[in-house]
Subunit: 321 residues, 2 copies
Amino acid sequence: MYELIHSRIAPVTGMDVFNDSAVISIDNHRDFRLAFTTDSYVVSPIFFPGGDIGRLAVCGTVNDLAMVGAEPQCLSLGLIIEEGLPMADLQRVLASIKDASEEAGIRIITGDTKVVNKGKGDGIFINTSGIGFISNDIDISPSGIRAGDLVIVSGTIGNHGIAIMAERNGLSFPDPILSDTRPLNGIVWEILKVHAGDIHAMRDPTRGGLATTLKEMAIESSLCIEIYEEDLPVEPQVRGACELLGLDPLYVANEGVFVAFVNPDVAESIIEILHGHPYGREASVIGRVLESPSEKVLLRTKLGGTRFVDMIQGEQLPRIC
Amino acid sequence: MYELIHSRIAPVTGMDVFNDSAVISIDNHRDFRLAFTTDSYVVSPIFFPGGDIGRLAVCGTVNDLAMVGAEPQCLSLGLIIEEGLPMADLQRVLASIKDASEEAGIRIITGDTKVVNKGKGDGIFINTSGIGFISNDIDISPSGIRAGDLVIVSGTIGNHGIAIMAERNGLSFPDPILSDTRPLNGIVWEILKVHAGDIHAMRDPTRGGLATTLKEMAIESSLCIEIYEEDLPVEPQVRGACELLGLDPLYVANEGVFVAFVNPDVAESIIEILHGHPYGREASVIGRVLESPSEKVLLRTKLGGTRFVDMIQGEQLPRIC
């Protein structure tokens, strides 16, 4: 996918494919910028423990806005419905869209519905695009990462991917594994309003998991990111399921956590704020930024070893979002 | 579709489903407004005479912005690709997206690509969302329509729908019928820069054709729209194909014409400007606005009769865009 996007799509369209949201300035309006982002959601199955495609479509796009420090303003909603989708399923998805947008405090202001013949889609695909405003005291991007920054993750990793995988394969666990699909703009605002200047970069590790996101950020910042295996927050049942399925939680998709690169002087205060929010109870410092080796992610294992972490190869779990 | 959107989707999401683009104001920035719109494109086949799904996806969204008087600023691009889509087809679509966005003068600044298994999509589906800016001297909406306004259509109707229908059914005509897929922001700007205050409403009659669009506008303005059959611009080969296929050109989709409701004092000048633009050579006055009967569209036929024109029932041509 990364290859496809980089080699084929990006050159033709001129898209910046790395960032969660594009950021644009408006002539004569220097006091804020616009953030703009889009995602299509094709998750299968459309209902899963902890969420559904509707909640995912709202949260995913809200989170992409939050990751550049934008206050989400409005969403668009594009539905592609396969003929034969039960009306009850459509209504359940729509109700979920409504609930999630209310939770995130964002309005859906424009939309479009298309219907395709049976066998030419898969129940429902959803596109949401979002607009947010970024105030001028906020400057969050991978180019702001500095050597010495600490790396914080806001919650346990791997829940979303494992919840989908379990549902898809009919696996059940003693403790059900729930997707972490949730809007992050609220919790991000809690730390931004206190520490805006000391939060250098953020990103939510969705497809490709935390490993892929960290590798992207190492490349974009031309720095090295060192992380400690023993500090990675992973729920025991997720860890167990990963072992069972032969998956590495570092590569499993998330939909409700973010990674932040912060000034070490305020890391403790940020962790404290995160712990006070329902979506940040498991927030942890998981690593730090080094000068070199440039563009690398180094994992210090529990056994005291070191290995380089690379981007995901292929799609570990297709149609995870 | 209209029923589905109105009864199910609109109440749940709070969307305004009528307008081409949503328009929002920004606190403390009273000198302009934002327009925001989205569309998913599922046209089948993806290549057709006069265009393809890529050109359609750019033009359709640019046109939705232009219809509220917005200057298009940027686009998002969401691709849902079915496994097995030939790489040559993808490249052709991407090249077309690039060409159309250059022609419209709009940048694609954010994007997303998803791949679905073979048999779970149909080649490629595209979502584009767009942002435009509206300056404060422009106020274009159906509520601005007044009794006495003249109704102008910018070009011949029915070309897009018939081009798709012919391609889909393997029909060929002595003169090939080409889709009118094209960006309208340039031609709209030509008339807006001279007559902004006298252009009360605009809309591009896509799905459902001119009839459905006029009926929507009659409802939204609570006025009556009277149109004259003999003044409707229809290419002879489109008229012939419609007769052959049992279709009424009033209900056939367009992707490169718009209807404008204008102050009668400037209608002649507007027509002159439109005639000077390559996309407006066939522009014509096709009707006028009356006080009553409210919410009705009246067609004066060539034979001197009168009939009420209603919205399209069902989808005359599914997957036309």
